[in-house]
């Protein structure tokens, strides 16, 4: 196990679930309840020092019991190291702690995850749709059960008739 993952496991023996290292990327999975604490630790601890948020992403695994996976990627500019933090969220209680109070940039990134995957973020200051229209009611486009061609919203558009000559 990589030493970064080891330190997280030592500090959070309860929340830590697993860690992998593949193609040089270190990734750590923690329980949903501990996400904010672990993130705070990653940001504040001088040995970690992850001051830069790279992106927030989400993956849909429809067959799993805890369906959604939220992925954060952090970078430590001074230490030049990268880490990926992951957690699982069930569909019935699709909410996870927001990290906007730690990294300001998480604001838009989390809004995008909410917009695309429907995962809500607790304590987010302004959780609205960002890329899709505000009045879009057909669900969350990046979920695996959302058809590629949409759910027919576009078919309801009014088309102008051909102008008679």
């Amino acid at each position: 196990m990589h030493q970064l993952a080891q330190r997280i496991q030592d500090t959070f023996p309860v929340g830590f679930l697993s860690s992998t290292e593949w193609r040089g990327d270190i990734s750590v999975t923690v329980t949903r309840e501990k996400v904010h604490e672990v993130a705070q630790f990653l940001h504040d601890d001088p040995g970690m020092d992850f001051d830069y948020i790279v992106h927030v992403s989400s993956v849909d695994w429809p067959d799993d019991e805890e369906r959604f996976e939220v992925v954060w990627e952090f970078y430590a500019i001074r230490k030049r190291q990268r880490i990926r933090l992951k957690t699982r969220v069930p569909e019935s209680d699709c909410i996870v702690d927001s990290l906007t109070d730690i990294w300001k940039g998480a604001d838009f990134m989390e809004r995008e995850v909410y917009d695309m995957m429907g995962i809500r973020f607790r304590n987010h200051p302004d959780l609205r749709r960002i890329l899709m229209p505000d009045d879009y009611t057909e669900g969350y486009p990046l979920r695996k059960d959302f058809p590629l061609r949409g759910k027919g919203w576009r078919d309801t558009f009014d088309f102008l008739d051909e102008v008679p000559r």
């Binding site: 593949w22 193609r23 990327d25 990734s27 001051d51 830069y52 948020i53 790279v54 992106h55 992403s57 989400s58 993956v59 849909d60 992925v71 990627e73 500019i77 030049r80 990268r82 990926r84 990294w103 300001k104 940039g105 604001d107 838009f108 990134m109 995008e112 695309m116 749709r129 960002i130 890329l131 899709m132 229209p133 486009p141 990046l142 959302f146 590629l148």
Partner: protein, 414 residues
């Protein structure tokens, strides 16, 4: 600091004239103003709702998504090769760098080694693309805030490189020249000649751009001390590229996580001090010189060799063999119709595009299609800081802000 003044004078009573507090006040109310989505300076279809107090911005809310095409969803439905042309349409003024970032990410997923010559070709073209991107930025940014001449000069020189791209791959903007495992075709002698000529022609022209702008008092007044962001905030917002380096953070993936032929070249990364629009301009102009340096070194060091990795299950056969050899044709057909089997796993690969860190997060469950592909688009993340950076400035400075991020909506909305 100019920054502090701009923010406090709006709200506070002038300490030198305390009597101003007792003066009769006018009824004031905040004004909401919609800017965009059809506004010439928003570089595409971007709408911002501005809350104004007089002419000062109190709050601005970007409304994104007018150009949302669901690229990430499309990626899940096509093979890895089929997604390359989609990446062109992300940041459509700098297609080559998008291709590059995507191909690098897939190569990391496959653990594929790219031959030396291909790495050099990639670096050269990427840096040419960086020059084009910065020229485009310089021209339009200056045009937006009232300096017209430099726009024509930038676009004149950009045209030379676009024609060079045309000769290289048959397209000027949506290029799709990079391939997974290498590049589509090698430079011809004529292309090399033209590039070398351009390298001699170009550096004096950069000096010209600088003279045009820095002797323009209006332009200097509208960039110095405008849209300031501190290093700490810039890092916290996840800004990248020149927008972050303008605040004095020396973060450049070409140096931090060297890739392609960059570790073999000597170049410096310009870093600003004040974090204002002027510093970000200065960094981009200095990067033009650095790009020229990198291209020169690559041209010198480049050796003959293959331009595509030889892994038949993944990489494409040379075009001439496709037309003459049955096996090569089958290989090409199978790769484009079914794709290749990627190992199950998850990677993130960031590349220093000219706007900032362009990253691809790919989740694979095996098979020919990505299970999930997330694009970390610098323009989108820069827009997250828009509200914070615009507060206290004038309406006209909002235009400077769009410009200073080098925002392209195709990438922002994906």
């Amino acid at each position: 600091m100019a920054f502090e003044d701009q923010r406090t004078t709006v709200y506070k009573v002038d300490p030198e004239h305390p009597e101003s507090e007792s003066l009769p006040t006018l009824r004031t109310e905040e004004l909401l103003l919609n800017m965009g989505p059809q506004h010439p300076s928003t570089h595409g279809v971007l709408k911002v709702i501005l809350e104004l107090e007089g002419e000062r911005l109190v709050k601005s809310t970007p409304v994104l998504g007018f150009l949302h095409r669901g690229v990430e969803k499309l990626a899940e439905d096509g093979t890895y090769h089929q997604f390359i042309p989609h990446t062109d349409r992300l940041d459509y003024v700098c297609a080559m760098y998008n291709n590059f970032a995507y191909c690098r990410a897939v190569e990391k997923l496959l653990n594929l080694q790219v031959p030396d010559r291909a790495e050099y070709l990639r670096t050269i073209v990427a840096e040419v693309q960086r020059i084009i991107g910065h020229q485009f930025w310089l021209g339009t940014q200056a045009l937006d805030i009232g300096a017209m001449t430099v726009f024509f000069y930038c676009f004149r020189d950009r045209e030379i490189l676009l024609d060079w791209f045309d000769e290289l791959c048959g397209a000027r903007l949506t290029t799709s020249w990079y391939r997974i495992g290498g590049v589509e075709r090698d430079f011809t002698p004529s292309l090399l000649d033209k590039l070398k000529k351009f390298l001699d022609y170009f550096p004096p022209k950069i000096d010209e751009y600088i003279v045009f702008l820095e002797t323009n008092r209006i332009w200097v007044a509208r960039t110095k001390g405008v849209a300031v962001i501190s290093a700490e905030d810039a890092v916290s917002f996840g800004l990248s590229g020149p927008t972050l380096r303008g605040s004095g953070v020396d973060y450049d993936l070409r140096k931090y996580e060297p890739y392609s032929a960059y570790p073999k070249c000597e170049f410096s990364v310009p870093v600003g001090k004040n974090g204002d629009t002027y510093d970000r301009y200065w960094i981009r102009v200095m990067e033009l010189y650095e790009s020229v340096k990198i291209i020169r070194q690559c041209l010198e060091q480049m050796q003959e060799g293959p331009i595509m990795a030889d892994v038949p299950s993944v990489t494409l056969p040379p075009k001439e063999r496709v037309f003459t050899n049955l096996e090569a044709m089958i290989q090409q057909f199978k790769l484009f119709s079914q794709g290749f089997n990627a190992p199950p796993g998850e990677i993130y690969c960031g590349t220093e595009a000219h706007k900032g860190e362009l990253g691809f997060h790919i989740v694979s469950t095996g098979g020919g299609k990505p299970y999930r592909l997330k694009i970390r688009a610098p323009s989108f993340i820069h827009m997250g800081a828009f509200d914070y950076m615009s507060r206290g400035y004038m309406i006209a400075d909002a235009i400077t802000l769009f410009g200073t991020y080098d925002i392209v909506m195709g990438e922002c909305d994906r």
